[in-house]
């Protein structure tokens, strides 16, 4: 958990007012940091296009393009200006919602993103939902079990399952559930809930395979810490009802690290989803990305990558905040 960094407010809080002040400070701190990281995400995405050894305009126009048309395209794309003024335009345009034009199709990058991002987000959301749904009972069961062998097997199983390639598991899943059992369609999509579930349940299930081991492991270790806490004893002695006990005395106090981690896992989820979309032919933004990479449609690649970067920044911010709000012990020093 060394990755969950950042200063936590170290103050002995005595009153609600001071607690609020600490929360506000932490909120602004994280907010400014996220803004700065978000800015650098834009800078890096902007510079990325310059890595290409060839002239992007020539790639866009093909080898038969005349010098005149190349020059015209350069001017149209603003490539004849200085790097700084290009970046300035790029930066301003982002806030106008303009991410540029696709080289090959007559679409704006913004329209590519807005059409296809929802599918991707749905897959990610379902993956996370399934991941949480599986991780909580697993972690609770292992934490409650007094058998050391169970814990050992759990650790071994999580390590091994993290070492399995998701794209291969997806192919195996496609073979088993798609081709052999016909439980899942091998390709195709139908927009809208709940019709889309038929197409995305398998990709999401495979995708949460990288989430469940990590989440259950972190939740398990927080649960073990919580179980050692004295207040759990108090709960037992008071004879608190079972469901309330599990929620208020075990899960709820153990949740903060898991929530923070979950927000950091968004990047991994996005990477996994891109591959799932390719394998299951889902019309998400990941498949658009792969198509754009194949055809060297640079503005589309650049735009999609930047949006993903900003999504990650946003969710880490939310995760940090939630983690802080969930863990009421943080303010202790």
């Amino acid at each position: 958990m060394a990755e969950v960094s950042g200063p936590s407010a170290i103050v002995e809080v005595d009153t609600t007012d001071r607690n609020r002040a600490a929360l506000r400070r932490m909120f602004y701190g994280r907010f400014l940091r996220s803004l700065s990281v978000g800015f650098w995400v834009m800078v890096i995405a902007f510079l990325m296009i310059r890595l290409s050894p060839g002239d992007p305009v020539r790639i866009a126009l093909g080898s038969e393009a005349t010098e005149a048309s190349v020059a015209e395209m350069r001017h149209k794309l603003g490539l004849d200006q200085s790097v700084f003024s290009q970046f300035f335009h790029y930066f301003v345009n982002i806030f106008k919602g303009d991410l540029g034009y696709s080289y090959f199709s007559n679409r704006t990058v913004t329209s590519v993103v807005t059409t296809h991002l929802p599918v991707t987000l749905q897959i990610i959301a379902l993956s996370i939902f399934l991941g949480i749904l599986l991780a909580i009972p697993i972690a609770l069961f292992i934490a409650q079990s007094k058998n050391q062998l169970t814990t050992y097997l759990f650790r071994a199983f999580t390590s091994v399952s993290l070492a399995l390639p998701g794209f291969f598991l997806a192919v195996v899943g496609l073979y088993a559930f798609g081709i052999k059992l016909h439980w899942a369609p091998a390709a195709g999509y139908e927009p809208g809930f709940p019709g889309n579930l038929k197409y995305i349940w398998l990709p999401a299930l495979v995708n949460c395979g990288s989430l469940v081991p990590v989440l259950s492991r972190v939740l398990h270790s927080s649960l073990m810490d919580t179980l050692d806490e004295e207040f759990v004893e108090t709960g037992v002695i008071r004879g608190v009802k079972k469901i309330r006990f599990y929620w208020s005395y075990l899960l709820r106090p153990s949740l903060a690290p898991t929530v923070v981690l979950l927000s950091y896992m968004i990047g991994v989820m996005i990477g996994g989803t891109v591959i799932m979309e390719t394998i299951f032919s889902l019309p998400g933004i990941g498949r658009e990305l792969i198509t754009a990479v194949d055809s060297r449609d640079y503005p589309v690649v650049q735009g999609i990558v930047m949006v993903f970067g900003l999504i990650v920044v946003f969710f880490s911010f939310i995760g940090d905040l939630l983690g802080y709000l969930l863990d009421r012990r943080v303010t202790l020093s």
């Binding site: 809080v13 005595d14 007094k146 004295e230 108090t234 709960g235 008071r238 208020s248 106090p253």
Partner: protein, 329 residues
Amino acid sequence: MNEKKLLEIIDLKIGIPHPRRETLIIVDNANFDIGYGEMLGIVGESGSGKTMVCRSMIGTLERRGAKVLGGQVLFEGQDLAHASESQWKKLRGKSIGYVPQSALAGPNPVLTIQAQLAEALQKSDGKGSIAEQSTRLLDLVKIRRIDTVLKQYPNQLSGGMRQRVMIACALASEPKLLIADEPTTGLDVTVQSQIMELLKEIRREFGTSIILISHDLALIDDVCDRVAVMHAGATVDVGSIAEHVIPRHPYTIALTQSRIDIAEPGSELVTILGNAPSVGEWPTGCRFAERCIFRQSDCSDGVSHPPLLGERGSHQSACLHTELLEGPR
């Protein structure tokens, strides 16, 4: 056995079973009792088994992997040592209140004080609504600004306040017995004495019997009527505070002499020889023998620890050679 006791612990033996190795015995030969309205102190070094004995009274041994292997814990005639989970379900949160060790970690950090009091009040049959009863309880433990405190989370309160809240929760069901396991650990001295005053008052007002567990003999001397001294899982010396003026067990003598508060200025502070034997490495016979300055050749002879000698209720000692202790020291 003239008067009726509220709680009697008889030859209690507690161990932690291990799937492959032998069961680890952590308490053996624990014997003491507490009468109605009495305040009993249990004193001993860490690892002497005091917390485990206390857990046997509140039914939380099992979740720590421990088990009662023998003996009885009689609470008003009912044997708690062998109570089933369903019996515990009825008992919990009713006649025995418990104040946990650490004030900082005692209250549930994710529940407001109000919610915790409401939980504690579930099984009480007190008058008035939950809110009224909560207010009364907080008032009882001398908390001011009650309306604010009710809405706060434990981390917004100071250590002393938290422990008051925990005491309030423990009192919610109007228990006959209140167990406080080192309730002032980590609190500073002034707060500590305030909490002790509070416990005394509670006893005075409601006639609640209180078991106070501590490693601090001075603290127990101050507030308790009687004391049970534990060493290596056994009670070695049980008697009233007054009687302890003439200790009947060498361990008690050693404890008394190592007290900083009554050591003469300039004199060397006497520490107890060696360390208490670790759990699982108890010697045969008297478990204190190796550290004892009065040690005799037959002290380690017996297989098990010497039992408490003397009438129950009188000053009892588990020393085989109490005659040696009576001379001038």
